[in-house]
Each structure stands twice: as C-alpha cells, then as structure tokens.
C-alpha cells in the first residue's frame, strides 16, 4: 500500500501544482485517475476501488478544492471498479490500456459532473461540460503512453499480490 500511496501523492502534486501552468483553458490531465487505472489493470477491481476512494478523497480535500467532499471519491471508486474488470493475468495490450483509460476518463468526469448536478454544486453549462469531458479525455489518452507503462511496472514489481 505504501507504493500506491506514494504514487497517489505524486500524482496529486503533479495534477494540482505543476500542470496548471501548462493547461488548456484550465483542464489538466487527471493523474490520479491514471494511477487508479494503472493499479486496476494490474491489481483488479477491489484494490483499485479502494485506492480510488482514497485518491479521490485526497483530491477532494487538498487545496484549492472547494466542491462537496466525496464527489471525486465516488468517481474514482467507480473508475477503479470498471477498469479493474479489464484486468487480465497477462500483460494487457496497448489498445486495451488506451481504451480502458479513455473509458475510465469519460466515466470518471461524467460521474463527477452528474454528482455535481444532483447536489446542486457548481457545475458548468452543458456546452462547457461536453468540452471539458472531451478535452480531459484527450489529455488522459495523450499522457497514457508516458504514465501508464511505468506505473504499471511499479505496481507489478513492488506490490505483487501475495498469493
């Protein structure tokens, strides 16, 4: 769990403090989501859902977040579960990884937006919403080749599931 926790922290710092300088209209790549998807592809839905819960909780509580706490937690739990169902004992192909990341990004941002609508928390207009979902999907898919292989290797080597 230590490696996972460390990876989530690094992902959070990158997402909140470093990448905002390099954004397009404020949309950053969702590194926490990428870490959760990587862990899901290696370790399965149970582990990924738990990791997603804690990663989402950190994302909700770390400054400058101001939305209702628990929204990103729910989104990343769902993402962890769905991506975890794609887990295979053999290494997944590149296509599988990219498709999983794309689906996870879409599902995660949509769940977050829907929870915002239900709670009446700040949410963008429908046009902006579609654009935000699509642009973040693009960012995540673009960064998949850079982030996922390394993180998946880390999870495989340093945290193999004890049989």
């Amino acid at each position: 769990m230590g490696v996972a926790g460390g990876l989530v922290l690094v992902a959070l710092v990158l997402q909140v403090a470093v990448f905002p300088h390099l954004t397009w209209e404020g949309i950053v790549p969702n590194f926490c989501l990428l870490v959760v998807v990587a862990s899901a592809l290696v370790r399965g839905p149970a582990f990924a859902a738990t990791l997603g819960f804690f990663a989402g909780l950190l994302l909700d509580l770390a400054p400058p977040a101001d939305h209702v706490a628990g929204r990103w937690a729910l989104a990343l739990v769902v993402v962890g579960y769905v991506a975890g169902l794609m887990r295979q004992d053999t290494r997944p192909t590149a296509t599988t990884v990219i498709v999983t990341v794309a689906a996870a990004s879409f599902i995660g941002t949509s769940v977050y937006a829907l929870s915002g609508v239900v709670l009446g928390d700040a949410v963008a207009g429908s046009g902006d919403l579609v654009r935000i979902v699509l642009v973040s999907l693009l960012w995540d898919v673009l960064l998949t080749p850079l982030v996922l292989p390394g993180v998946m290797r880390l999870f495989t080597r340093l945290e193999p599931a004890s049989a």
Binding site: H21, A46, T50, L58, L61, V68, V77, M86, R87, Q88
Partner: protein, 320 residues
Amino acid sequence: MRPSRPRATRLLRGYRPLRPGPDSFDQRADRSRLRSRMVALVLACLTLMTLDHHAGAHSPLEPARRAVGSVFGPVESVSGDAVRPVTAVGDWFRTRRSMQNDIASLEAQNSRLRAQNATGDYTRNQLAEFQGLTSAAGTLGRALVPAHVVAYGPAQSFSRTVTVDAGSDAGVRPDQTVLDDDGLVGRVLRVTPTTATVLLIVDTESVVGGRVGTDMNVGFLRGQGGLGDHGTLDLELVDQSDAPTKGDTIVTWGSHGGAPYVSGVPIGRVTAVYASLRESTQRAVIQPFVDFGALDLVGIVVPSGTSSDRGVIEADGTLQ
C-alpha cells in the same frame, strides 16, 4: 463447480479465467467479496457527500481539509516556485534594446505627467477666474481678451482711467469695449505693446449710448467722475417724454462697427428719476453693475479669431 464469468469481461476477446488469488473476481466468493467492498466504498462516499453538502462552511470535514491543506500547501508552493522559472524562460529572450526602449518611453511619460501635475494648481485657479469671463463672452456672443487691471489713475488728476496688462501684442486696439463679468467697464483709449489705458464709464469724459431694457428707449449715459457709491451715471433719454422707471436695466446701445462700444453689455440699474429744472427733461441716476473700486479681471472685446500673445476666449467658450 463451474466458475461463473463476471458479466463485464465477456466484452474482451480472448478471455481467460483469472488465476485464483486476492485479485481475481471470477469465483462467486470473490464476487460477493468484491460486491460488499464496493457497497462499503460507495456508502462511504455518499456519507461524505451528505456530511459536507448540507453543512456548508461548518462542515465536519473542514478540519480534515485544513489538515490536508497544511500538508499540501507547502508542497504546492514549493512546486510552484520550481515550475515558475521554467515558464518564465520565454521572457529571458527579450532583447536588451527593447527593454531600453521601454525605459526611455516610460521616462518621457513620467516627466510629462510630472510637469502636468506641477502646473495643475495654477491652471485650476486661472480656470476659475476665466469662467466668469467665459460666461460673459458666451452671453454677449463676442470674443474676449482677458486682462488684469494693474494700475489706477489717481483720482486727483480728475480722470478715471486704469491700466490693463494687455496691449497690442494681445490683439487690443484703441476704441474697443472693456467689460467684466458684472457689466461694462469702459473703452480702450490707447495701447502700447504690452499695456492698454482704459477710460472708465464713470469718467466725466465718457459718454455711452444706452438702451433701457424694458421699453427699448435710447439715451446717453455720462459719468459723474465719482468713486465707489458715488460713481454713478447720468442717463438722458433721447425721447424726452418717456421717463425711465426705477429698477430698469440699461444695456449698451452699440456704436457703429462696434467701436467703441458693442451692443448688449449691461451697464447699470436706474436708482432714481428726477426732473432737471435747468433743462426741463427727465433724467435718471444709474448705479453701474461693476464695482469700480474692485476691478480685477476684465475682458476686452476683440474680433473673433484675433491672434494674441495669450488665449482669447471665444464666444463659444473655447480658449483659442
């Protein structure tokens, strides 16, 4: 027992059952464990949302936010400091010359603004003085050269004249009307390049054609030579039969070509009407509007567009 496949993985081609282990989710037991874990996690999320949503600012999660913030705040500022030089690289490529140009233009702007600021007070005072004169110019529809009264002729020389500081360089010529914002002051007698001598209307030599405001009768006003309250004028109407009434306003009748007096300048008010025994006519005593003991800023009526060494107040109120 046949392992039952999880529904979702039927989407993948080449599906192979997962090896039994903590990460598999094929077996029914695994799936029930997974299901209970998911329920727990989702319930936890919903609880958090409920706690935080209704409470608003006093949410029970605020201490947690503060704690996380105290850890992440320094991390975020450190990483922000680390990233900022990288994003500022573009500015490093600005050339020295463009910075020098910037400095030069800023210095020029700075000294211009400083000069404007220094003369601001003086300009404001001048403006206040000129506003009265400008309204007179506007009412009359004439251009005025502003001037200050700088010297009074002594009363013991039996002549009531003053010197003003506008001369021929300012566009002033002899036989031009001099007025101030209260009314008619006099006419220009002679000019030098920088000064002009003005004959006041209260001088005994001064004769001004006037028109009674109410009934438009014309007459001649002669100065009596006095000062202050004694500085009255004597009105003799052309038509002897019509007598002016007390309180009537007299304005200038206007001379041919506007020299020496333009028409329409207020002169004074009728204070008394009496019959002159000697000449058997009605005469009126006029109190001038202008206080001749306290003359300061006066305007000399010049043709519009006169070139001058100072600003000429045009009839539309602009300073040319």
